[in-house]
């Protein structure tokens, strides 16, 4: 497993584009750096290869690399950020992808698309239809982007409308664990979304409001290892019962900008 991360050198909260962000409650820069490093080290400790993109001054959210694009094979699908504050990031992700040997793909359409923040691959869900992507829309990405992703990659894209602005990206409230199970926060979905998820997964583990606010669904899964911000004992027990090892990394400073473990990485393979 290979991921892309971005050092939090210029990370701060200078604007408010989600309900978590408050410019008067800035994250502790030093503590953020310590937390980010701990996450980085947890990944490398699990054998995950971490690549880095240079941070850019004035683009504080670039640390959340998951929103920089979507990688499939050798293709790097560029994001079309909804908010002006983040649109400057796109050129840097594109340049990085080109330098790294990816074929960059720009979606053609008058819509927004925020990369892996809203599109989760289910590589372990194998069926006659091939790979399925679960994609969120409403707050950051638009559903019309899903059709292009589907055509481009030749995969089925199941679209889910998000229902809570606190969980504005799909990866903030939904985390597939394996071919049968996924974590999700029911408060972030309407009945249609919940039904769609239950059609895909045999076992949907609903997390509570507190765990949701702790971004426990914003977890990185690799095999039997789950990396996330500290969660409730009950959730850890549930994960343990399914055979998962939970690796908790305190990421409080990033939650102040509405992100956590999963938002801080972009999967490259």
């Amino acid at each position: 497993m290979r991921v892309l991360m971005c050092r939090p050198d210029y990370y701060t909260v200078d604007y408010e584009i989600n309900p978590w962000m408050h410019v008067r409650e800035k994250p502790d820069q030093a503590l953020a750096t310590v937390q980010w490093q701990a996450l980085h080290d947890t990944f490398t400790g699990l054998g995950i290869d971490v690549e880095l993109i240079e941070p850019v001054k004035g683009l504080p959210d670039m640390v959340f690399t998951a929103n920089g694009g979507l990688v499939s094979g050798n293709r790097f699908i560029l994001s079309l950020f909804r908010h002006e504050e983040r649109q400057g990031e796109a050129a840097y992700f594109e340049a990085w992808a080109n330098r790294s040997g990816f074929e960059t793909v720009r979606l053609s359409g008058d819509f927004f698309f925020e990369g892996e923040g809203d599109v989760l691959r289910l590589p372990f869900v194998t069926s006659s239809v091939g790979e399925t992507l679960v994609a969120g829309y409403r707050y950051r990405s638009e559903i019309r982007s899903h059709n292009q992703i589907s055509e481009l990659l030749g995969v089925r894209v199941v679209s889910i409308e998000l229902a809570s602005e606190h969980f504005y990206h799909l990866d903030t409230c939904f985390c597939p664990l394996n071919e049968k199970a996924a974590l999700y926060y029911p408060g972030a979905f309407d009945d249609y979304g919940k039904k769609v998820l239950s059609n895909i997964f045999e076992s949907l583990i609903a997390i509570g409001e507190q765990d949701a606010k702790s971004f426990c669904a914003n977890a990185v899964v690799r095999g039997k290892d789950v990396v996330m911000n500290p969660c409730s004992a009950a959730l850890k027990e549930q994960l343990k019962a399914l055979g998962f090892n939970t690796h908790e990394v305190e990421l409080s400073e990033f939650i102040k900008a509405g992100g956590s473990a999963k938002c801080l990485v972009l999967k490259l393979d």
Binding site: S127, S128, V129, G130, Y137, R138, E142, I143, R144, H146, N147, S150, E151, G154, V155, R156, V157, V158, S159, I160, E161, Y192, K195, V196, N199
Partner: protein, 428 residues
Amino acid sequence: MEKGGKGGHWEVIELRGHIIDSLTLSKLFDEIILRGGNYVSEEISIGTSKLDPSYARIRVEATQKSLLDNILVRLSELGAVPVESREVQLVESPGDGVFPEGFYSTTNLETEVLVGGDWIGVEDIAMDSAIAVYKLNESDSGGAGRYEARAIKMKDVKKGERCVVGSSGVRVNMQERRAVSGTFEFMSSGVSSEKPMSTLIGGIADEIKAFKESARATEAQEPAKILFVCGPAIVHTGSRDALCCLIEKGYVDILFAGNALATHDIEVSLYGTSLGVSMAEGVNVYEGHNHHLRAINTVRRVGGIKEAIEQGIIKDGIMYSCIKNNVDFLLAGSIRDDGPLPEVVTDVLEAQDLMREKLKGVKFAVMISTMLHSIAVGNLLPASVRTICVDIDQSTITKLSDRGTHQVTGLVLDAGTFLKELCARLSR
């Protein structure tokens, strides 16, 4: 491509993608209804495998523009985009009496086609037809448009005539179903079998009266007409006088019937019986079962109903009133007919053509106690024609509606009660 019509506002949108697995289509339908709109699915094609995207084209309707806009904003969030107007696709008919493959099959609703950049109305609209499009000569166009579109029956199409194929560039005014209910809202839906009949008939009488007054007041060269489609039960139930009364008062512009109605009407004139039953006493008359054959034979001998009237053989009755009052009529034949009377058109295709011709200008149709004729005429009527069907058997009305004459208002009632009450109301 937003339109405002007499029934409200509408817009056609389309939706693509994995809209079934994602429940996006279900959600879209629910959102339209929850927000007070309505929809008509014009086309839905489901991907053949889970990988294939699906497609839906949906007409979204609302009574107010602001409501429609509100719905469309929400639908755009679900990925719906307005459909660009596309011209109709025209293909030449491969032979006489044969439509091109994939021809657009019409409904009885007001229909328009986009041709030469303009939406033009389809003339003579009737269900189960194709739409033929003709380019007009410069001299014929008169500035009204360069093309003409007309509903055409299969048997009438000629080799090389261009017909609409597929459904792009065709729009149908679904609102008509609601718009035609007129002054009689409370019974505009479905069949009435447990409603106060006297009140219902009174309402119909008021409608007919208003319709005729309006038709008489118009300066149009061909005022709107009322058609009566009648079965022989009118004679059997002893209500021919009531129908004659309507004819004499000018409430019947055209009469459609079969051999039986005219035969038994004349039987009453000549023998005082209908199907051999005495109209005066209600009992079978000796040798009465052959009265209708003798009546037919008499008319055939003199050459026709008109001749029989002129010679004083027929002195009263429905056919007598029609001829004396210059009311147009058409008697269409069927397989079981005895005789038939000379006026009966026995070639069904010819009868169909004559019906279609006579239906021009008909805006009101009253069908009484005749299932086959009612359905046949229903198939030829545009949905904008106010249609009343009276039958003792509820299934007649249901069948009429099921076969596409959705606009029908049905009364489950015997012909005699209806006609006598109607006549009394219209005589006041």
